[in-house]
């Protein structure tokens, strides 16, 4: 095949399916992330709803062929609303033995496994820990195995472009992509266009990749694939009209921070120190200099938090971001922000811990840290991100609360949301209500801890303002003058007013709604953060099957919505599902004395819909 023979045949005899889960897995060097993102782009263009999850190795350059060097990309796409990246795989494409051994367990019984037999060499088998080739014995009996020497076929397909064997093999991922495109009746044009633009300066590379893509596709088309495997058709989903893009959690939070700062009329000073999985935010914001965004890679997390606070003191919006261990280092600075009542946003991309834990694995175990993790009585609003696109609105809300109430706000997101992506109906920024900050400039009766009657917030004064020179700091401040005060009664009053200010935010956030199902009933499954998708799908599935179960999903962790207690008490049972050992459950029990139970796991992976369905079934059938 030459150039672009991207003519796609009509769908003959394709089996119509509602959704499918495909995972591409291979060596870090095999280009699996790129393959996955191409498949995603094409699925989106063809009108499916979808959700994806990339799984990178923790090591930067793990030795080729090893299990810890496996990189995978999973996509769940469908003709219906897709809530998660999928429990079990319909199709697993593996580019080497290590990818097979590490991913096979997730394939559903009878699922399709497509393997590059050319990469199942003795050497690679040994590295993966196989004593004999699983492609040659009966170990894959429960699956529909397709062995194809993709390596050889790719090299043959790209021969004419004069590339070395090694260079030619780099297009192996495109060959695999071509084959999967054929399986699902997908058009190749978007990938072809992308390759041409990307390698505009290296036409032979572009052409080789296109040739590999076409060869993989042709392989399927010319009936070289086992017939019983079948071909599939996934119809368009019912999706709200508009312009879409795919978005990861890191992107949505970074866009939301920018949008929120514009709504507040402030410049951003984003101060951070690299840490997985939070670094992506720093990288995104560092490219927003044309918006006046200042980014600062500090010497450590303490400097990042204190520099952010210094920036807020000087009249910008100070933002800092990290993951659990780094957030721990920031806590003294956050205490200072609470004491001096300066706005600041702290984004915590949670990961498995304690300590370094599993840096690339997701968890929701920093809720205690966020709500309680400071010395003394130091209340602070905490809000959470539920889906990859939700970060946009949550970041805006964090800035609204921080600036209106002169308080640090912590945003909890996690490693899953940060890296996962979903289609996003791009919002129109001008439809958001502005919340411009009014800096105090009036010297009349000024002191730095004068409070607004309603919000209890103190005034924000930019240094440089005439006649308003004043000092603030960590020593307790007098309620009446703002000067330092060692008076114990004043400390009582200030502690009370700081708490009242934060509690009062409950009147300025929406009441808790029931996400799926109804208020009142046999069982409420309560969640927060990235468990939204699986809980929603599980609850809806179970409702379809006639179970009396509802979903309550919290965005606001502190203060809690004012109607939450009443709402929870309308259910016979409350089940709190979270990826920790029971942190929200403890909070709800402590606040409301509700007999909430927990469904908890910390194995680095999001909840499976099936796990949640089982938990619901057990509780409603006993």
């Amino acid at each position: 095949m030459s150039e672009v023979a991207a003519i796609d045949r009509p769908n003959e005899n394709r089996q119509e399916i509602e959704s499918a889960v495909v995972r591409f897995a291979g060596d870090s060097g095999d280009g699996m992330q790129l393959t996955g993102s191409h498949f995603t782009m094409t699925a989106a263009i063809e009108g499916n709803d979808l959700s994806t999850f990339p799984d990178f190795p923790a090591e930067i350059r793990a030795p080729a062929g090893t299990t810890f060097g496996v990189s995978a990309f999973q996509i769940n796409f469908g003709a219906r609303k897709i809530m998660t990246s999928g429990d079990q795989l319909d199709v697993l494409v593996v580019m080497n033995p290590a990818a097979l051994i590490t991913n096979l367990a997730d394939v559903k019984p009878g699922g399709i496994v497509i393997a590059d037999s050319g990469a199942f060499t003795d050497r690679n088998l040994t590295k993966a820990g196989y004593t004999e080739s699983p492609l040659e014995n009966d170990s894959l009996e429960g699956y529909r195995l397709v062995k194809i020497d993709m390596s050889r076929l790719t090299v043959e397909a790209v021969k004419e472009f004069g590339l070395s064997n090694k260079e030619g093999l780099r297009s192996k991922n495109m060959w695999a992509l071509g084959l999967i495109y054929w399986m699902y009746g997908r058009k190749r044009q978007a990938s072809v266009d992308w390759l041409k633009t990307k390698f505009a300066k290296m036409p032979e590379i572009a052409n080789a990749n296109i040739a590999a893509l076409n060869a993989g596709h042709a392989f399927g088309e010319t009936a070289e694939m086992p017939a019983e495997l079948g071909t599939f058709e996934v119809e368009r989903a019912q999706i709200e009209p508009g312009v879409y893009r795919t978005i990861t959690g890191a992107e949505s939070v970074s866009f939301g921070l920018l949008a929120g700062s514009q709504l507040a009329g402030l410049n951003i000073s984003f101060c951070s120190y690299p840490i997985t999985p939070a670094s992506a935010l720093l990288h995104h914001l560092a490219r927003m200099k044309n918006f006046g965004v200042v980014t600062f890679q500090a010497e450590d997390e303490i400097a990042a938090a204190t520099a952010a606070l210094g920036a807020s003191y000087a009249g910008s919006l100070g933002i800092t971001s990290s993951s659990g261990p780094g957030i721990a280092l920031k806590m003294e600075a956050i205490g200072l922000a609470i004491g001096t009542e300066l706005p600041m946003v702290i984004v915590n991309s949670q990961r498995a811990g304690p300590s370094t834990g599993l840096p690339t694995k997701t968890e929701q175990s920093d809720l205690y840290q966020a709500v309680f993790g400071r010395n003394a009585d130091a209340p602070m609003p905490v809000i959470s991100v539920s889906t990859p696109s939700d970060g946009y609105d949550v970041a805006i809300e964090a800035i609204r609360i921080a600036t209106k109430y002169m308080t640090p706000v912590m945003v909890l997101t996690d490693g899953y949301i940060t890296n996962a992506s979903e289609p996003w109906l791009i919002p129109n920024p001008s439809t958001y209500e502005r919340f411009d900050v009014e800096f105090r400039t009036d010297p009349e009766n000024f002191h730095p801890f004068l409070r607004d009657d309603k919000t209890l917030a103190r005034p924000w004064v930019k240094p440089g303002t005439p006649e308003l020179m004043h000092r603030i700091g960590g020593i307790e401040r007098s309620y009446d003058t703002g000067h330092i005060s060692y008076d114990p009664d004043n400390h009582q009053k200030m502690t009370d007013v700081r708490a009242a200010k934060i509690n009062g935010i409950a009147d300025d956030i929406p009441e808790q709604e029931v996400e799926a199902g109804a208020a009142g009933g046999k069982l409420a499954v309560v969640g927060w953060g990235s468990t939204y998708g699986p809980i929603n799908r599980a609850v809806n599935n179970m409702r379809d099957d006639g179970y009396d179960v509802s979903q309550i999903h919290l965005r606001y962790i502190w203060p809690l919505p004012r109607n939450l207690e009443e709402l929870l008490k309308t259910y016979d049972q409350v089940l709190v599902a979270e990826m920790n050992t029971g942190q929200l459950r403890t909070l709800l029990r402590a606040e409301y004395l509700v007999p909430a139970e927990g469904l908890n796991k910390v194995n680095g992976k999001p909840f499976l819909i099936g796990e949640l369905e089982d938990a619901i079934r057990i509780r409603l059938e006993k």
Partner: protein, 340 residues
């Protein structure tokens, strides 16, 4: 450093707040406070554009006593807070104040990075070789053998030399003075204020309660002339009563030596001339210790270099060259598709 718009001539006392100063009577911090207030008045600094940032310690109480903007933060972090202030608003004239524990122990890391980045602030380190506020424990600048509540048999770890540290991490302005040298301190502060970048000023400060007299071997009137050398750019390195002594550069051993004019045929022509743009010379000066050598005071080193805060904003201006960013465009960046 910034061009100030004078709000009518202010006096030193106009820079004082109405807050009661809470240092111990006789503490060296009083004299430094006076010197800073005098200096700001003489510089015709604009209080509304002046910010004092500090950490925690006796020294760090400083901002409460200055009628300017002030932020008393947390222990050791003032250089990082000040960095944030300058990133947010590079036009502010920022002074950072702290003790030897604050800036060289818990905050040593931030001090290093502020200096190496060359953030445009004046960084005043009040070195009393002790933890004053926490009641007298030894500090990272205490001499070996310092007896304190936490080292009853004497401290055993090597002290750090603040000026050598600042030189070593690439500081662009390194200077020294003492609490009691009112005029000298004021002139050093003025130079510090005039320098663009991190102006590091180590001020030897007497803690009358917990470390009284640690510097008297070079600050006391009777020994001052012999044990201090006040360096000035372009001037011969002379000291002693009647400037009868000087420093010569021993080229073979690459070190400074103290000599007496007239002895061994030494004339003024042999005396080394201070060149504040020479980092090696500054390092040798910073290393000098009594009784064999005098303590070097004044501006040991000064070089002009871009400041971090201005470079950050230059990049932003550059990025905006082709117009301010458009959020809608950003959101629509990359691959989009339309659902009808």
């Amino acid at each position: 450093m910034n061009v100030q718009s004078p709000p009518g001539k202010l006096k030193a006392r106009d820079f004082a707040t109405d807050q009661e100063v809470r240092w111990c009577p006789g503490c060296g911090d009083y004299a430094i406070l006076k010197a800073v207030q005098n200096t700001l008045a003489e510089l015709e600094a604009d209080p509304k554009n002046t910010v004092f940032v500090s950490g925690i310690g006796c020294a760090a109480r400083f901002p409460y006593y200055m009628e300017t903007y002030g932020f008393h933060t947390i222990h050791g972090r003032s250089p990082a807070v000040a960095t944030g202030v300058k990133l947010s608003n590079p036009k502010l004239d920022v002074w950072v104040v702290g003790g030897d524990g604050d800036m060289l122990s818990i905050g040593g890391n931030h001090t290093m990075h502020a200096i190496r980045r060359n953030i445009d602030v004046q960084l005043l380190l009040f070195n009393n070789q002790i933890y004053g506020l926490t009641k007298g424990q030894y500090s990272p600048t205490s001499k070996i053998g310092t007896r304190s509540p936490s080292t009853p048999m004497g401290s055993i770890d090597n002290p750090v030399s603040a000026a050598q540290f600042a030189l070593g991490v690439g500081g662009t302005f390194i200077s020294r003075s003492t609490d009691i040298l009112v005029k000298h301190l004021s002139s050093v502060l003025k130079r510090a204020h005039g320098h663009r970048g991190t102006s590091f000023v180590e001020i030897f400060q007497n803690c009358i309660v917990y470390n009284d007299g640690v510097f008297k071997h070079f600050t006391e009137k009777s020994v001052q002339d012999e044990m201090q050398i006040h360096v000035e750019h372009g001037q011969p390195l002379l000291f002693g009563k009647d400037k009868s002594k000087g420093l010569v550069l021993n080229m073979e051993e690459m070190r400074l030596e103290a000599v007496t004019l007239g002895e061994d045929g030494i004339t003024e022509a042999d005396i080394a001339v201070h060149d504040e743009t020479n980092r090696s010379l500054a390092t040798m000066l910073a290393q000098m210790d009594p009784p064999i050598m005098p303590v070097a005071l004044g501006v040991l080193y000064c070089e002009s270099a871009p400041t971090y805060d201005s470079s950050v904003h230059a990049q932003i201006e550059h990025a905006r060259k082709d117009g301010e960013g458009d959020l809608t465009k950003l959101l629509h960046g990359g691959q989009t598709w339309t659902v009808e």
